[in-house]
Symmetry: C2
Subunit: 315 residues, 2 copies
């Protein structure tokens, strides 16, 4: 095995992904753990418990991104205001020593979005940095990124500068409607938004009613079941299609000018969510390229490591 050089960690509210990497950023081993939301009391303790199996390699430096840098994380790292170059993330990172390890936490980004609301991200900035390393042509011209998740981010870049972004509460909305509303009987429905025929039907509905509000569209998930037009087991798929369809519909409107300058949308996420968003975007005649979210995170964290440790790309 090549010599382990550092630990890369994408630590969100609900999930931790830790990778043991060599100097070149190649993954030697990976571990999954609980999000910072689940380890509130002692984030540092949770971190050291997770890396216990890697103790044998010495006190390796760690580079982390995500909610680990928030008020509910390990240490709070300020937001960099947009417009921001992903290369600025390294300079804005927080570095400290813990148990002999050098710990680096990436800063988040903030902006005033197109709805004139303050907006923030934590973790996606590192994925963008990574995506631009993986595919350098994305640092040229106008690029629109869609980064689906609990809080989906729509991001506009111009020549490698993150100009502004917009958050959709799509994942969280799906989750709480699935579990807590009368729309879905979650005990008798298959969760998972399989993206089949019923999901597609919801996308077509949204396309047909671009003026419709989600608040008026959602009730069909229930009334469709009452009237036998939606099977109970398909309710979650229809709900997922309405939410993702409406997210795409609104983003398409608010990023109209950006999309006119770009070659479609780059979707950065897990494969499953990436496929659902790609389907929704293609239904609205937007071209899509998918980049795997974990791969992008890791590329971003590796880039941060190289800058911070002064490792040249030739190393």
């Amino acid at each position: 095995m090549p010599a382990p050089a550092f630990i890369a960690g994408d630590w969100g509210t609900s999930h931790l992904r830790l990778s043991l990497c060599d100097r070149g950023g190649r993954v030697l081993e990976s571990r999954n753990g609980p999000g910072v939301g689940a380890v509130k009391a002692d984030v540092a303790g949770a971190f050291f418990a997770q890396i216990e199996p890697w103790k044998q390699y010495g006190a390796l430096p760690a580079v982390l991104c995500g909610m680990v840098g928030s008020t509910i994380g390990w240490r709070e790292v300020r937001y960099l205001p947009c417009p921001a170059r992903p290369e600025m993330i390294a300079a804005g990172a927080l570095r400290f020593e813990a148990n002999g390890h050098s710990i680096t936490i990436a800063p988040g980004l903030s902006c005033r979005n197109r709805l004139m609301a303050p907006d923030v991200m934590r973790g996606e900035e590192t994925q963008i940095l990574g995506a631009l390393r993986l595919e350098p042509q994305l640092a040229q011209g106008r690029q629109v990124f869609c980064m689906p998740g609990t809080h989906t981010k729509w991001v506009s870049l111009k020549d490698g500068v993150i100009e502004h972004f917009l958050t959709a509460v799509s994942g969280e909305l799906y989750d709480i409607l699935y579990h807590h509303s009368v729309l879905v009987n979650s005990k008798e429905t298959v969760d998972g938004a399989a993206g089949g025929a019923v999901f597609k039907r919801a996308l077509e509905k949204i396309k047909l009613y671009p003026d419709g509000e989600l608040i008026h569209l959602l009730f069909e998930v229930r009334s469709g079941q009452l009237k036998g037009e939606i099977k109970q087991r398909d309710a979650a798929d229809y709900l997922s299609g309405l939410i993702i369809g409406q997210d795409v519909s609104g983003a398409k409107r608010f990023f109209r000018a950006d999309l006119a300058e770009s070659n479609g949308v780059v979707v950065v996420s897990t494969p499953r969510l990436g496929e659902l968003y790609a389907q929704a975007l293609r239904t609205r005649d937007v071209a899509v390229r998918n980049i795997d979210g974990d791969t992008a995170s890791l590329a971003g964290l590796s880039a941060l490591y190289r800058v911070l440790e002064g490792v040249t790309d030739a190393a």
Copy 2:
């Protein structure tokens, strides 16, 4: 006390309001109880337990409306399809005997709404019947009703005929976002949507961005708190303003033609919700008249009683 003649009951998912009435529909006594959602196993038993104090007046007939006529209610009553005259409700009611009482349950209404989705109501049809009895001029020309609640109904009437309606999941959405999302820390926020300055600010935001999707507007409830622009205790008010504002915004668009023919909107609900919707509608330059929801229910149930029992209005 005038002689008790019948029991009127508006029995929804979350609340029961029972009134002991004389032949003229005047309320002699009232009782509040749990909704059918809370007494799932034995709705009949819950009913007779509630009317126990009125046993002394004999086996009075009861006229009920709301979810008590649904699959989770006492007995299921079919939906009348729209267009429907409120006077047709009596003919569509289900009548049966129980413990010597004559029980009548009003039917719900169904339609294909303006988003081409099946739509249903239970209880509001009886409130509309009551509103038209209370204010007979509402049975003339075009009228648009807004009936806020867990599932808000927007209803269009022409010359006393209910032509179509649209459901917004506004109350339910507020409730589950308030209790289960990261947008509001419900433990440190005053619930109740007081309708003050912060509520008004959210309404203005919606007015300023008629193209904005709720899914993109909601995150400001959280980011505004992170950035110190919204106080934690005001988060629920801002959330309420966004949801009610968006509901009104979408309904205004989908009932554009109906509103052009009417003198504004008749809001039928509890006084508190009625005031919030009136504020939202006036922000969007729509004239509003409020009718108390309990008064409308009772007038509707009394009208049903009179028809069913053959009581003339002179009685």
